[in-house]
């Protein structure tokens, strides 16, 4: 059993988002980068499956050298080895093409990742990889169990969940509560330093989109405070001024 977990290297969820170079580049100044929160759920479940099934667990990121600390953290959490595709992740198609190429060479049984990255929120890569490999893709997966070659999952649907079954190989786009996030312990951190981290060059340059400019939303006006003893006023304002009732 071979599991591949694909992780993104994204700004911490508390980051203030700003741009530089005439709004053409993300401003990394003062920003801490983390494993994408949804990918962190995928990784946590993969570590549990590894222990339960005696599987091997490889973690993959498409990114430049600066993402290596994020990959080392994933190794400290429990991945056996890591692959970094040495390229800026230009768009979803580019990233999915790299993952599919590596998956074709290594025949993973299960490919896991977050349902979406928290920077571009596309939620596309899992489906693209599934289609490129000609295998099922399921997302967003909130529960995943393996029995033999059968995968039992729960998937979030609007207002509830759906229970599904599929056979391996499979791509799963994951979210909570598939597993509790794992925090690396000292032993994990020490062993992560010596675990293999392979750097490979991208296989293709194919992209479908390119960001030409970034914008921030317009600044919010000041809040209009209403006295707690006069809630009728709020209802009037919502009806007549904001016109939302």
């Amino acid at each position: 059993m071979k599991i591949l977990v694909c992780i993104t290297h994204v700004p911490d969820t508390t980051s203030k988002i700003q741009f530089t170079d005439n709004n053409t580049k993300f401003d990394k100044n003062g920003v801490q980068f983390i494993i994408g929160p949804y990918d962190d759920y995928a990784l946590a479940r993969a570590v549990e499956l590894k222990e339960q099934l005696g599987a091997s667990l490889t973690v993959l990121n498409v990114g430049e050298a600066e993402t290596e600390p994020t990959l080392r953290k994933a190794l400290a959490i429990g991945a056996d080895d890591a692959i970094r595709v040495n390229a800026f992740p230009k768009d979803s198609l580019f990233v999915a093409s790299q993952i599919a190429a590596i998956a074709k060479q290594n025949n993973y049984d299960l490919i896991m990742m977050g349902r979406e990255s928290i920077d571009f929120n596309g939620g596309m890569v899992h489906g693209m990889v599934g289609e490129m490999l000609g295998i099922p893709s399921v997302s967003p997966v909130m529960k995943l169990e393996i029995e033999g070659d059968s995968v039992k999952m729960a998937r979030e649907i609007e207002g509830g969940k759906e229970y599904l079954e599929a056979k391996l190989p499979l791509v799963a786009g994951c979210q909570e509560p598939i597993a509790e996030w794992k925090i690396p312990n000292m032993r994990g951190i020490m062993s992560a330093r010596t675990k293999p981290l392979q750097v490979i060059e991208p296989v293709t340059d194919q992209t479908a989109t390119e960001v030409t400019n970034y914008q921030l939303p317009p600044a919010k006006g000041a809040v209009k405070l209403i006295d707690k003893d006069n809630v009728e006023e709020l209802v009037k304002l919502l009806k007549n001024e904001a016109k939302v009732l």
Binding site: G127, V138, Y214, K220
Partner: protein
């Protein structure tokens, strides 16, 4: 080349977000002269539901009336839409951003060799190239994205366009497709759905509670207000983490992202991760007894007061409005 719109439905009712996608497609076709708008609907759906696509702007609905497609099996839906896309000679596919929509669109992008842009908030600009504005960083920014493929898939964010309901009736054409059994390799065993409630991702009004509600036993106050407003209920992450409310009500960066017309936050301080999940709301009301709660900075209207006093009064005031 025509514009095809993938329509989602919940137990036969066409989703409002899908109708917004139809209206977006109609505006796109009017702006770019992109040909007629054709909707594709999969599974068992009544004629009067399909007619709504016409009112929203579709000239025609291709109905694949195959009950195997009632369930949202991602591969099967992607294959069915791809077949219809080729059959009608479409150049653009429009759909609503959703859990199923994302999953289907991603496979379609590869099948159709199309550029996929998600979270689209405006019609494309074609002055120089083909550029689409999309929401990124969970609503904290926008990216103008140029597209470099002939075929395009645009996943439209909820509330990004006005839903039109004054269009003509659409001609419905029933289509039979041949979908390979491999596309049904994922089996849906059962579904566990909240019934009789307004679905959170689709809701026009959302009332959310946070730790300020003190315990799950007090949620009746949130539900009473939601009921009067015809709203969905949501909660902050700590509330779902401690199990007061189910996970599918968790609104925020790693939970459900909502874009209602009105978002009412009660007893939620407004952590940046929660704000990211609601910042596309048209109007935000915050009720919190802490006047320093950061959420007030993001709100349009606010009441500094105890939720247990304010909520019953607010519910009564809404009732009186009717």
């Amino acid at each position: 080349m025509s514009v095809l719109v993938y329509i989602e439905h919940a137990d036969g009712s066409v989703k409002k977000t899908s109708l917004e996608a139809v209206s977006y497609a109609k505006a796109l076709s009017d702006k770019l002269g992109a040909g007629e708008v054709i909707a594709v609907a999969l599974g068992s759906i009544a004629q009067e539901e399909l007619a709504k696509a016409g009112h929203a702007g579709a000239a025609k609905v291709m109905h694949v009336n195959d009950e195997k497609l009632n369930a949202g099996i991602i591969q099967a839906h992607a294959e069915a839409v791809a077949q219809v896309y080729r059959k009608v000679g479409a150049g653009t596919l429009v759909l609503a951003k959703s859990s199923l929509g994302d999953a289907v669109a991603a496979r379609l992008a590869v099948k159709l060799d199309a550029a996929l842009v998600s979270n689209v908030v405006e019609l494309p600009e074609t002055g120089s190239g083909y550029k689409v504005k999309r929401s990124i960083y969970t609503g904290k920014a926008f990216a103008e994205t140029s597209v470099n493929k002939d075929h395009k898939i645009l996943a439209v964010k909820k509330n990004a366009v006005d839903l039109k309901t004054d269009g003509a009736a659409a001609a419905v054409e029933t289509v039979a497709l041949d979908i390979n059994a491999d596309n049904f390799a994922t089996k849906i065993i059962s579904t566990d759905k909240a019934t009789g409630e307004v679905l959170l991702p689709e809701a026009d009004i959302v009332v959310s509670g946070g730790r300020g509600m003190k315990g799950p036993e007090n949620w009746g106050l949130i539900e009473d207000l939601a009921k009067e407003l015809g709203a969905a209920t949501g909660c902050s992450k700590p509330v779902s983490d401690i199990g007061w409310r189910p996970h599918h009500e968790h609104v925020g960066q790693t939970g459900v992202k909502v874009a209602p017309t009105l978002y009412i936050a009660v007893g939620i301080s407004g952590a940046i991760q929660h704000l990211a999940g609601v910042n596309s709301s048209k109007c935000i009301v915050v009720i919190n007894k802490d006047a320093e709660a950061p959420f007030f900075k993001a709100a349009d209207y606010g009441i500094v007061g105890d939720a247990f006093e304010v909520l019953p009064k607010l519910t009564e005031a809404v009732k009186a409005l009717k």
